[in-house]
Amino acid sequence: MLNHAIKYEWLNLLRDRWVMILLILFLGITVFAVRNGKEKVEDRMATITKEKEKMVKLDRKMAADIDSLNKNLKPAPEAWKDPRALDNIGWNAPRVVAMDAQPLAVISTGQSDLFTHYAKPKIYGEAYTLGFSELSNPVQLLFGSFDLAFVCIYLLPLLVLGFSYNVLSSEKESGVLRLTLAQPISLYQWLFGKLLLRFFILTSIVVASILFSLTIFDIDWLGNRGAATKLILLVTVYIFFWFLISFLINLLGNSSGSNAVTLIAVWVVFVLLIPSIISQTANSFYPVPSRTIMIHEYREAKALAEKKADEILKTYYREHPEYAPKDTTQQNQYSWWLGNFAASDVINQSVQPVLDDYNEALNKQQSWVNRLRFLSPAILLQDGLNDLAGTSPAHYTDFRDQVIAFADTWRHYFIPRMFNNEKMQAEDFGSLPTHSYSSAQVPSHYPADLMGLLFFLTLTVAGSVWVYRRNSFENVLSV
């Protein structure tokens, strides 16, 4: 009997023009969203490729120059232009340290519009001064991008609610409910079946639209089946959560209008209010210390260290006897740089506490927010999508750490050679340190996000059972 009812429900839906409109509308929105994401990722990768090509070209030119200088085919340039001088290589031919886009980067802009995706650390300069901010119109950042994450987090629940808010109430209002229930059928099974059917239809539309959009924009989701499955799973659970909320509200037995209003209120609370409240409490309870104060402390520590620069170099040699000039009769051509390195090492050491304090406060705020994300399915979905796209704050912090680590590698390639008063040779270009990006060490939030969403599912199911037990059958039936 139940099968029968569901079958007719299916036929009913098939003939409903709303399903068709929904399909076209959602497909259009998804294609637009993925196109926006694709454009951003393409720009990002094109810039990185261009930078790398420029680097290779410069390397080749410098190697050729060194070659002709060594063969005396060219007059020697001024010292500050000489490609044989290691400081010129370390300063003028930096490597490109890039953060390549993850295969599914198109799905969520995340923090990618705030930061640059590559840096060119040089032999001299403090890690703190490396700029990562991207040039952009802040209005665009304020409004955010129309990406797949936006479609899923904000719009999808509204589609679900529009598709299901009156499953029970409309039957009641048109009087069909009494007829249906005259059949040997359980109200709850029937209602659940109806919603399940709608869930399957909507989920199929959503999944098909997403996969279709990814395919037409050449995103290799088949090659990244693991990530694609995770994406589909996360979105499906989110859709299911909203269907269950709708089921719960329908069970209360109110009118269609009242259901619609209640469901919208739930949406506003989960998608708009809770995230903004948590974000605000994070700023109030764990305020990030002022960057402006940090600048001051940093400059004070630096000025103090600079005053003692001469002493510093002596101490530095005491601590690094391996670097002390062996042949004191010969002038080291890099002596100015070496003094600078020593001073900057000391400066970095003395300002480290300032930076550490700052980072600790930042971490506290972020871990507070990370814990509170379990209060809203919308935050969990956002977090999970950013995780899959590789655009979460954790990814950018990790990239910054990679750049800072590489800056150190780069410097330490040159320092011993400079102390030895060596020169750059054409064949040395092949042995310069290189960086390859990997996000493997970023701890994944995905499993926790998925668990969190499943927890919300369980909660809603428990809520439905409670309502079912409390509510009398007559109450549901009464119009």
Binding site: V139, L142, S145, Q280, A303, L362
Partner: protein, 471 residues
Amino acid sequence: MILKIALKELKEIVREGRFRITAITLFALLLAALFVSKSYYTSVNAQHSEAKKNARSEWVEQGQKNPHSAAHYGTYAFKPKYPLSLIDNGVDKYTGVSIYLEAHKRNEAQYAAAQDQTALSRFGDLTPDFVLIFIVPLFIILIGFNAFTRERESGTLRLLKSQGVSTWKLTMGKWLGLFLPVLLIAIPVYVLAALFLANIKDYGQFSLWALTLLFGVYLIYYAVFINITLFVSSLFKKSNVAFVTLLGIWMVSCLAMPKISTAIADKLYPYPTQVEFEEQIAVDKKKGLDGHNPWNTEAKKLEEETLKKYGVDSVQQLPFNWDGFLMQEGEKHTADIYFKHYQLLKDTYVNQTNVYRSTAALSPFLPTRFLSMAICRTDYTSHWDFANAAENYRIELVGKMNGDMAANSKYGDWDYLADDKLWSSVPDFQYEPASYTTVIRQNTSNLITLLAWLLLSFAALYGAVTKMKTI
């Protein structure tokens, strides 16, 4: 008659549980937002004045130095926070708070708060503007979607007609019935905000007039939403359909349109990346005159000209330090290069702004958002204005340093040292924001669009209700 209908509507709305719950929630949210914003504002302001003081003392107490080294050491300009930012924080979260001012280089403002926050902050913060611009329209829809459909569904619309009530009077009554509850929430918030702002110690920049203007803009915006709500309610037979339609309108104008406009603006007038921008500047710098590089052809030319002008044959014989003079000439040249490139950037930004201004015809949210930020001085234009003022100060500061070096030292004498006297002779950075007349002038188009929305939505409502069927 209109008033009677309005009072009846009001009574009906107030009696409904739905209204009471949402109104109380809304009011609580606004209060919370106001309090949190106030404490945020106070702490940021305290930080700002401390940082300002620090930067000044660092500069004045930097000890004996060559003036050009002092220009390299530089100082910071900090962006002030204005009292009304506690109503609307605008783009402040996404723009840097401090600009490093040094010789040879114009720096971008650094340390945007958003960069230090988690991705959560991209959902938006619970600030008064979030409630006032996003949530209040939703509240209007919630209490008004069934204004006409309810009468139609229960058959009372026909009764009313038979009583000889003109539809227009009925509409005006219902209009007031929606506007009064909104006013009931907006007025206490306005009064509270005014009290808060008046009690902030350094409220030098605050004017009650601006706050009133801000609330005026919000009220026009609410009127537009009331018109739309009643218009839709008069079109449909069923409350459900009216509700879903209105929700769709809200979603498109408040959520989707800003993002769609951004996608269009970005596609048509893309910003250069930070590195591209810097490289374009570097290319110009290379071609031009570089203060640190006297071998450069243009510097050579300048040298010849100067020598001829003073009738001497070497730079040592000049009555001033050639190094200082040359560096200042180089500084002027770089400043021109920066000016050129920032002007190009500004053109892109103006073009993007124009995209938003044209899409504002599709969403009353957009002109309101821009007006609100502009009045609160938290829009992008205010940021540009500050950055330009900081750049002018930088040019002045570096010029003074190079000038002192040229006048008081000899060529090649890099051991010349200046002291606090010179440092403190440079006035502290003071920034006066643009006047409100300028702000209004910059936003005339937004104001016109918003007023057009008001008039057209009124006209649409009038047209719809006069043709309205009772069944």
